[in-house]
């Protein structure tokens, strides 16, 4: 019988939530790495027992942990992330040049086929790669060396490379996103990169349609249709039907088009999910109601999913890496909140139940569908 394992990164440790395929009874294990920030925990598609975790703290910096037994035990692996060559400068908040400085790993994306190969997206924005299970990391410096690099500027949360999507039909094609530079695409496994931000409009930059400078919060794709991308931008939910060459807005009837997460149904490539958030300053759900919005039309037409979610006095956020979808049928949808709840839907979002209610603030949620 199938099972699922939900990997949760929080402000104060990692948790592993497991259930059988019914997804109605859960075991909660953790905290692992208690007291540390776990920005991301993700398993290898090639070997689900191989899991990578980004562990960091303001005091003691960055660690990478690796598990080979599905998250029961862990070992620290390489934590040296050195920029390739002369690091150079990017723009600081005030527009002055600022040296590139490594701060933390935001996102770990294991290879689709090799459990020992994994990408890391870091702050200050750069992409690293390991082919030895995380022991050694080398920068794919063609990204940061892209001509626009000196003009990248951090968002309020830091200049982070937070999203890495590998095209299953061509693993050399990778999409990434950086706050607040925008989205980029490589077709040669990271040697060269192209900004893919045409069609985005951002009023916080001098030229609202500039090649770079857009605060992309998250992008998503369906593995059977990797040329179609969905994006939650700082404002605006966007869609591209040509692998990012051109974007168009699909915010439609959302109560607010600000948010962080966006994800795609496991079996319906045009069914997508977002969690609208009130902004610019509040960063909690509108009207005290926690609502996931689902579009079955690839955007523009959205329905609120509220069954089982708090509809009063709720003021949490759902951060960019904190939603994930399993591949069972019907697919399960999972998300975590800054209030420490992890909600699960075993019916593609129709109804929700909390798996746990009182974890530290949730930074990331990833689900593994196990045989």
């Amino acid at each position: 019988m199938s099972a699922v394992r939900v990997l949760v990164g929080t402000r104060k440790g990692a948790f592993v939530l497991t259930s059988d395929g019914k997804r109605d009874r859960w075991d909660v294990a953790g905290p692992h790495f208690a007291g540390w920030e776990l920005y991301h925990v993700k398993g290898s598609p090639a070997d689900p027992n191989r899991i990578y975790a980004s562990q960091s703290s303001s005091w003691f910096g960055q660690l990478i942990q690796r598990s080979s037994d599905g998250g029961k035990t862990w070992e620290p692996v390489g934590n040296k992330f050195s920029y390739d060559g002369v690091a150079g400068t990017h723009q600081w908040y005030d527009g002055t040049p600022h040296p590139w400085e490594f701060k933390r790993v935001w996102h770990l994306e294991p290879s689709l086929t090799d459990p020992d190969a994994v990408y890391a997206g870091v702050e200050d924005a750069a992409m690293f790669h390991s082919t030895d299970g995380g022991q050694n990391w080398s920068e794919l410096s063609g990204l940061r060396g892209h001509g626009s690099g000196p003009h990248w500027t951090p968002g309020a949360g830091g200049m982070c490379l937070h999203t890495i999507l590998i095209d299953p039909s061509n693993p050399k094609r990778i999409f990434i996103a950086i706050s607040a530079a925008g989205a980029f695409r490589t077709g040669d496994a990271g040697k060269t990169w192209k900004p893919i931000n045409q069609g985005l409009r951002s009023e916080h930059i001098p030229d609202p349609t500039a090649e770079v400078g857009h605060c992309v919060h998250r992008i998503a794709l369906h593995p059977t249709r990797p040329g179609v991308l969905f994006m939650q931008k700082h404002w605006d939910v966007m869609r591209s039907d040509n692998a990012g060459d051109q974007w168009h807005e699909v915010s439609g009837n959302l109560p607010t088009d600000f948010g962080f997460v966006i994800d795609v149904h496991a079996h319906e490539p045009d069914t997508i999910y977002v969690v609208p958030i009130k902004s610019d300053s509040e960063h909690f759900v509108p009207d005290g109601k926690l609502r996931v919005y689902r579009s079955r039309t690839g955007g523009n037409e959205w329905e609120a999913l509220t069954d089982g979610l708090p509809q009063r006095d709720c003021y949490v956020n759902v951060l960019r890496d904190a939603m994930s979808i399993d591949s069972l049928d019907p697919c399960g949808v999972y998300f975590g909140t800054t209030g420490g709840q992890v909600y699960a839907s075993a019916n593609a979002g129709d109804s929700w139940t909390p798996i746990v209610r009182d974890l530290p603030a949730v930074l990331s949620v990833e689900v593994q569908t196990l045989p």
């Binding site: 303001s58 005091w59 003691f60 910096g61 960055q62 934590n79 050195s82």
Partner: protein, 98 residues
């Protein structure tokens, strides 16, 4: 042989309890002490000082013999009492506050 007291998170990482002891060859300085510590416990590399520059991380301090040695040269000799093992070198994580 010198004694080093690590902050709790680094004791957990290094899988040790209480203070640790390491052999230091040559003059006992912050640099030689940390080199020996990291050689014995490689998982600590990058957590106390930067991998490349060896600069002390901002939220980490070094105390010994009731003195704050954080801003001493990494190559300055540590107090005789630390070098002899009579007193430990304390690696301190800044207090969180609040």
């Amino acid at each position: 042989m010198i004694r080093v007291v690590l902050p709790p998170h680094l004791r957990t990482l290094a899988k040790v309890s209480g203070e640790v002891t390491v052999d230091v060859s040559g003059q006992v300085t912050q640099r030689s002490a940390l080199d020996a510590l990291e050689a014995r416990y490689p998982m600590l590399r990058g957590t106390i000082r930067d991998h490349d520059t060896h600069k002390r991380r901002a939220f980490v301090r070094f105390y010994a013999c009731e003195e704050d040695l954080s801003h001493e040269s990494p190559d300055a000799p540590l107090p005789d009492a630390v070098a002899s093992g009579e007193e430990p070198l304390l690696v301190i994580g800044a207090i969180a506050g609040g």
